[in-house]
């Protein structure tokens, strides 16, 4: 009952104030709206945009360069490259595709790990579970498998291209070596993954594969001089690979850990080196200007100098 009085007292002032506010609002809101529309016309000026992209995105050479240089993912590339280096018919894009597939494999692989237990009892069931129960589980597993196969093909084609264009030649000899190692690791990654579903296909493929290890000279019990060096099925290199004399639970676990942790880490490190060396060795090798035989024994011109 006490509040009623207060209301009555403040009534006059309040109405005036409200009227004043309405007047002001008639001007303010359209102005703000106009500003907003203007602002939206150029989204690159918004705070949100600039906070993400660290510079303006004018279509200037500088910005094009910055677009690459100031991006953590893109600065793998130089800002500018030889005009012909973008030609797909030359590069075949296989290195990039391999890397992309590696990312796809990592991603799908991580998702698969959520559902998979590398034990004799669980492994096969988990794959069935993935196929039948997990939402998108089937496509996930399919993508992982096919991407792995595709990656092997892409690596081969990449290597094939690199050889055909002589890109292993000076100064890229070492990077070629890294590449060869990456090929080996790609195959190993794929091979270690083969056993994981614990089905007949994987089991026998891995059995056949690791049986060869028995015959390792010196280190395998069936290899030359292995017997003489005291190698038995229980202490040779195959035992070391499988964690047992037959493909069993330990082999499953080992192959799982190599597949998910060991080889990916090593391969990643090698990949980093590989990419770094591509840059350091002067970007991709070509398409370089053709060289004439008579120039062969002259001091070699740097790749940058080519093309004039």
């Amino acid at each position: 009952m006490a509040e009623e009085n207060n209301d009555k007292n403040g009534k006059v002032g309040l109405i005036d104030r409200v009227k004043d506010d309405i007047q002001a609002m008639k001007v303010d809101i359209p102005t703000k709206a106009k500003e907003q529309i203007e602002g939206l016309k150029d989204p690159t000026k918004t705070q949100a945009y600039t906070s993400i992209f660290r510079h303006k995105h004018d279509d200037t050479p500088r910005n094009r360069a910055l677009g690459v240089l100031s991006n953590v993912f893109l600065h793998l590339h130089p800002a500018k490259i030889n005009r012909d280096a973008v030609r797909y018919s030359y590069t075949w894009g296989m290195g990039g595709i391999t890397f992309f597939l590696f990312i796809v494999l990592t991603y799908t692989g991580v998702l698969l790990m959520f559902y998979y237990h590398p034990t004799k009892v669980q492994a096969f069931r988990d794959v069935l579970y993935l196929e039948h129960d997990v939402p998108f589980g089937k496509i996930l597993r399919n993508m992982h498998r096919w991407a792995a196969h595709l990656m092997v093909i892409a690596v081969w084609l990449h290597m094939f291209r690199v050889f055909l264009t002589g890109s292993y030649k000076k100064p890229r000899e070492f990077n070629w070596n890294i590449g060869v190692l990456l090929l080996v690791f790609t195959l190993l990654l794929s091979f270690t993954g083969y056993l994981l579903p614990d089905d007949q296909l994987g089991f026998w493929a891995v059995t056949v594969g690791t049986n060869m290890a028995r015959a390792t000279p010196l280190l395998g019990h069936e290899g030359p001089f292995g017997h003489q060096l005291g190698m038995t099925p229980y202490n040779d290199v195959r035992f070391g690979l499988l964690g047992g004399s037959i493909v069993d639970a330990n082999a499953l676990l080992r192959s799982y850990i190599w597949h998910c942790i060991g080889i990916p880490i090593v391969a990643s490190v090698l990949m980093i080196v590989h990419f770094w060396r591509v840059r350091k060795d002067g970007g991709i090798s070509g398409p370089a200007p053709v060289m004439l035989p008579q120039e062969a024994d002259k001091p070699r011109r740097g790749p940058k100098a080519a093309g004039e």
Partner: protein
């Protein structure tokens, strides 16, 4: 060059999408349009016009020498009296009694009301009266015991349920019925091994049992073509096909031959 491969892929994916669409459409077409199915109602039986009904009658004969009825020793139970002869084949002057005659086929899917009144089966003098009985499926049979001895009634059917009940003297009649059609369903009394009779359970009211003079009559038949079956407990079944017109009375005779003749 770079676009070439892209196009190849694009075309292949598009083609795949198209296939998919077709597949999806097909799926839809498979969906049935109509749902609730209704059982076809049994066609209604045409009612019998009482004005046009026909009659079949006749005599059943026995050809050849009638076997002499076997004598039955009923001395086992003093309460048993009366004629002690087997009723397997009862022939009098060549007339064969106790033949069950019924319309076996030709009535289509007509259904008939089951008479409310019971049919009587009497046990008297350690014999069943009658020896051959016709009854409609579901109709009540009233079984009486007029003897001063305990009987048991033991039908041994093929298609109906078997039962065996004791009926001491002076007890109330048993009321029984059979649900399914069965011809020459044997009934016996285990205590008096000679006691035997046959119940014929049929679906229509068109049946008869020949009397001592081998005569029978089936009345109230709608005009049509029928298979009439004559069944004798030992001599088996013989069929005849007969066509009767409206209000017609047809005589259908039948004869059985002695076994082995």
């Amino acid at each position: 060059m770079n676009s070439k491969k892209g196009w190849m892929v694009a075309v292949s994916v598009l083609a795949a999408c198209l296939l998919l669409l077709i597949a999806a459409c097909n799926k839809k077409e498979e969906q049935p349009a109509n749902t609730a199915a209704e059982q076809p109602a049994a066609p209604a039986a045409t009612p019998i016009d009482q004005a046009t009904v026909a009659t079949i009658d006749g005599t059943v004969k026995f050809e050849g020498t009638a076997p002499k009825p076997a004598k039955i020793d009923m001395s086992q139970d003093p309460a048993c009296k009366g004629m002690n002869e087997s009723e397997n084949i009862v022939v009098d002057n060549g007339d064969l009694a106790n033949v069950f005659v019924y319309v076996k086929d030709g009535l289509g899917n007509r259904a008939f009301d089951v008479p409310k009144e019971a049919i009587e089966l009497d046990q008297q003098g350690c014999k069943y009266h009658p020896h051959v009985l016709g009854v409609m499926a579901g109709q009540t049979i009233e079984i009486k015991n007029d003897d001063q001895t305990t009987h048991n009634i033991h039908p041994t059917p093929k298609d109906n349920r078997e039962w065996n009940e004791s009926q001491p003297p002076s007890t109330a009649p048993l009321e029984k019925s059979f649900a399914r059609e069965e011809i020459m369903l044997p009934v016996k009394c285990n205590q008096h091994p000679w006691m035997k009779m046959y119940i014929n359970v049929v679906k229509s009211p068109f049946y008869a049992v020949t009397d001592k003079s081998g005569k029978y009559e089936i009345k109230g038949l709608p005009p049509g073509t029928y298979t009439i079956a004559f069944v004798q407990e030992k001599l088996g079944e013989q069929d005849q096909t007969v066509t009767v017109g409206p209000k017609e009375t047809k005589t259908v005779d039948q004869s059985f031959k002695a076994a082995g003749a």
